[in-house]
């Protein structure tokens, strides 16, 4: 236990501290940007990012993963904030945490196995597109200065790392923000800055209980939002955890992560922050910068708070164009470029699942709905594929005797095909159906077998079923009617 703590926290101190600082610098613009998306003061996002990062560092299940206020969550809050205000958002954040902790105890993290690769890719791509789209309001109806600043910012972000010696030691998003802020102040440009977007934190966060009436109508307002937030938060966290697992070749505890996200969100809600979750882009930045342990996440949160509290006068001066540039970088970095190249290689059904997920998310601005549709579609495609693994071979053994060999999977998707495979027009005395290579999975398939048996009987043939393997037999015993004469009689009586 002590060994694990040492391993998780202090096995990579230098790398974790440096990576944590790099991440904190990138978290500040993100937290501000996401607060603006949600329609709240930047301080709500900044307090949330601080609290979530620090809490998840201790209680999370995936060391080295960065969690904070995120765009995916912010998008779900927009209408709640608009219609009911900040206090209801804080209450919803608390409830989100409770739901997530419950999900952790119910071990819902393992449900992630039903989310196929193409749905994950669709989710990630949709997220990238949403982050990008959220920047568009900052880029419409503005002077050319803003475009120039944004372009310059992106230029700095991507070209600065190419510089020898200093390129890889100073985070380029930081260089971008400082350069653009200095430029805007020197030229006295009349463009929007962070200070125009709302209140920034000037003190350490204080503990407070959301000022909402504790009654049923409050619950009615916040519950739908909380469920959405909890689902999206867990989805993104689980997916990010898998990505970090792959990158670092280590394992994570998904159910502990669920509970951790819940605790972190409760903490955020009590400190006046909005709900958040794991961040794909920031986690990649963390791993890339050498962050591996819990200390990196903790440093990111702690350093962020120190920065915003002591530098709030300077933060106000940051032009929005600089933030937009950083956010466009995050969006580009989150997007799965390979998925576009793989469109040609992958089967059509996979591509349809991926693209549908993206389209649904972009249309609804709700990642949970997109993933739900994606998973449903993937399941249907899968059922369809497996349903094709079924064939009925007819074979004549002796005069007046027909033998059918059934091979493969019989279930709801292949039941109709199963029934159609028999020739009821043929006049035979005896029919043998050999099932020893077949699997009957559900009551639909059992009903189909009953139908076949009854149909043959009504044509005057005697039906023998042989070779039912154990799996088939149990299903048939449970749901079948053909071997219970009184049931068959009942069925026949209707005709």
């Amino acid at each position: 236990m002590i060994e694990t703590i040492k391993q998780d926290w202090f096995s990579n101190i230098r790398g974790d501290l440096l990576a944590g600082i790099v991440v904190a610098l990138a978290l500040i613009p993100e937290a501000i940007a996401f607060s603006i998306i949600a329609g709240v003061d930047p301080k709500v996002g900044l307090y949330a990012s601080f609290c979530i990062a620090v809490v998840i560092a201790v209680v999370g299940g995936r060391p080295g993963m960065i969690s904070a206020a995120t765009g995916a969550m912010a998008l779900l809050m927009v209408t709640l904030v608009k219609q009911h205000g900040l206090e209801y958002l804080l209450a919803a954040t608390l409830l989100t945490g409770v739901i997530q902790i419950a999900a952790g105890f119910l071990k819902l993290g393992s449900l992630m196995r039903f989310v196929s690769r193409s749905v994950v890719t669709g989710f990630v791509n949709a997220l990238a597109i949403l982050i990008f789209m959220a920047q568009l309001p900052e880029l419409t109806n503005v002077t050319w200065h803003v475009y120039a600043m944004t372009a310059a910012g992106l230029g700095i972000i991507y070209l600065f790392p190419l510089l020898p010696a200093i390129g890889k030691t100073i985070p380029s998003p930081l260089v971008c923000i400082i350069a653009l802020t200095v430029m805007a102040m020197l030229l006295n440009l009349d463009i929007r800055t962070v200070g125009d977007m709302g209140q920034l934190p000037d003190t350490l966060p204080v503990f407070l209980w959301p000022d909402v009436p504790l009654n049923l109508s409050t619950l009615q307002i916040i519950l739908p939002y909380s469920i959405g937030l909890a689902v999206v938060g867990l989805l993104e966290s689980m997916m990010t955890a898998t990505i970090v697992d792959d990158l670092t070749d280590t394992k994570s505890d998904k159910n502990r992560e669920c509970k951790g996200q819940g605790i972190a969100n409760i903490g955020a809600g009590l400190l006046g922050g909005m709900a958040g979750c794991a961040m794909i882009g920031q986690s990649i930045i963390n791993v890339k910068s050498g962050g591996r342990g819990r200390l990196s996440t903790f440093t990111a949160g702690a350093f962020l708070l120190v920065m915003v509290v002591f530098l709030d006068e300077w933060l106000k001066q940051i032009p929005m164009a600089a933030l937009v540039a950083v956010m466009i970088m995050v969006s580009i970095g989150t997007f799965s470029w390979d998925s576009l190249r793989n469109l040609k290689k992958h089967p059509l059904s996979t591509n349809i699942v991926m693209i549908t997920t993206v389209v649904v998310v972009v249309a609804t601005h709700n990642l949970a709905i997109g993933v739900f549709v994606g998973v449903l579609l993937a399941a249907l495609f899968f059922a369809n594929k497996i349903g094709r693994f079924m064939v009925v071979k007819a074979e004549k053994t002796e005069a007046g005797h027909r033998r059918y060999n059934v091979v493969g999977q019989v279930f709801f998707a292949s039941a109709d095909h199963f029934v159609e495979s028999f020739d009821f027009k043929e006049v035979v005395d005896c029919v043998t159906i050999d099932l020893h290579l077949a699997h009957f999975w559900d009551i639909t398939s059992v009903a189909a077998l009953d139908k076949v048996v009854i149909k043959f009987r009504r044509e005057g043939a005697e039906v023998k079923i042989i070779g039912m393997n154990e799996a088939t037999r149990t299903v048939v015993d449970k749901f079948g009617v053909h071997d219970k004469p009184e049931e068959v009689e009942k069925l026949m009586a209707g005709h």
Binding site: Q7, I157, F160, I170, G281, R292, I332, G333, D338
Partner: protein, 285 residues
């Protein structure tokens, strides 16, 4: 699977030769097959630093490729290095009279790897310090305490240089754990030909006298040559003095009989004994 083999852990540190010799000695006496285990632990710290903080198109895929390539190179070298270590150890042990010697490599944490082979192992041999430590210091390696706590199979801890022991000392405190240890030694051929000293540190009461005599009787009934000793004073320093006075070449002790919380407050005799010992220690749990 029966508990039949001896598993010895080597990591290429200075102590690995002592581990090898100690294991070979145990193997020849117990007539048990000897397996050398080299565990390739994953290092958490990344090999390369890029603090640019910028992510672009395909960053994730590139990062995965990059990290995979780095790990691949690092591990190939480590595997190669480990193979040489194992070969050397196997040869050395065979020359020293061990029987049926094999080498095995695993990607794992040391403790997990030991737990995985515990059910086929009757005796573990490990060094006091791993390769991360300076061999002269009086400390125990970062793994030892965790291994000793988690493993319930006897562990033989090698120290410094190995020389075939001619006698042993058994620290006896009259506890249930210690009685179990006595039983175990009595029934094992490992120490039956050595001259034994059963040492008890505590007040000279008739009760402790009887306990000590009983323990010696169990051993001598099984053909062991043992002498009882009852000493007064601080446990650790008494045992140290005794060891020096009688030229003890192997120590036997039970380990970590108390909870972690108690140890946090009063300290652990086991840790002290392990870290100060200059001769091999057989730990029975």
């Amino acid at each position: 699977m029966t508990k039949h083999q001896i598993t010895a852990c080597i990591d290429g540190s200075a102590i690995s030769t002592a581990v090898c010799d100690t294991a070979a000695w145990a193997s020849s006496i117990l007539e048990a097959p000897l397996t050398f285990l080299h565990v390739l632990e994953k290092s958490l710290s990344p090999a390369k630093e890029d603090l640019s903080g910028a992510i672009g198109l395909g960053s994730r895929e590139h990062l995965l490729d990059e990290l995979t390539a780095l790990d691949e190179r690092r591990n190939k070298v480590a595997i190669e290095h480990g193979k040489h270590l194992l070969e050397d150890a196997v040869q050395r042990a065979m020359a020293a009279g061990a029987i049926d010697v094999t080498g095995e490599q695993r990607h794992d944490q040391l403790l997990d790897a030991l737990l995985a082979c515990e059910e086929s192992t009757r005796l573990f041999v490990i060094g006091r310090l791993g390769e991360d430590h300076d061999s002269n210091k009086q400390v125990i390696g970062s793994h030892i305490e965790n291994v000793v706590r988690a493993i319930h199979t006897p562990i033989l801890m090698a120290t410094g240089q190995f020389s075939t022991p001619g006698n042993y000392m058994l620290a006896y405190d009259g506890s249930e754990t210690a009685d179990k240890a006595i039983d175990r030694i009595a029934n094992s051929p490992l120490l039956s030909n050595l001259h034994g000293h059963v040492v008890m540190v505590g007040k000279d009461t008739s009760e402790s006298r009887t306990r000590l005599d009983n323990a010696c009787k169990i051993l001598s009934n099984k053909g062991h040559q043992v002498h009882p000793h009852l000493l007064k004073g601080d446990v650790n320093s008494c045992l140290m003095d005794f060891q020096q006075g009688f030229n003890i070449e192997l120590k036997v002790m039970g380990a970590y009989g108390h909870s972690r919380i108690r140890e946090f407050i009063v300290g652990s005799n086991t840790t002290k004994m392990l870290s100060t010992s200059t001769v091999p220690v057989l730990i029975l749990r």
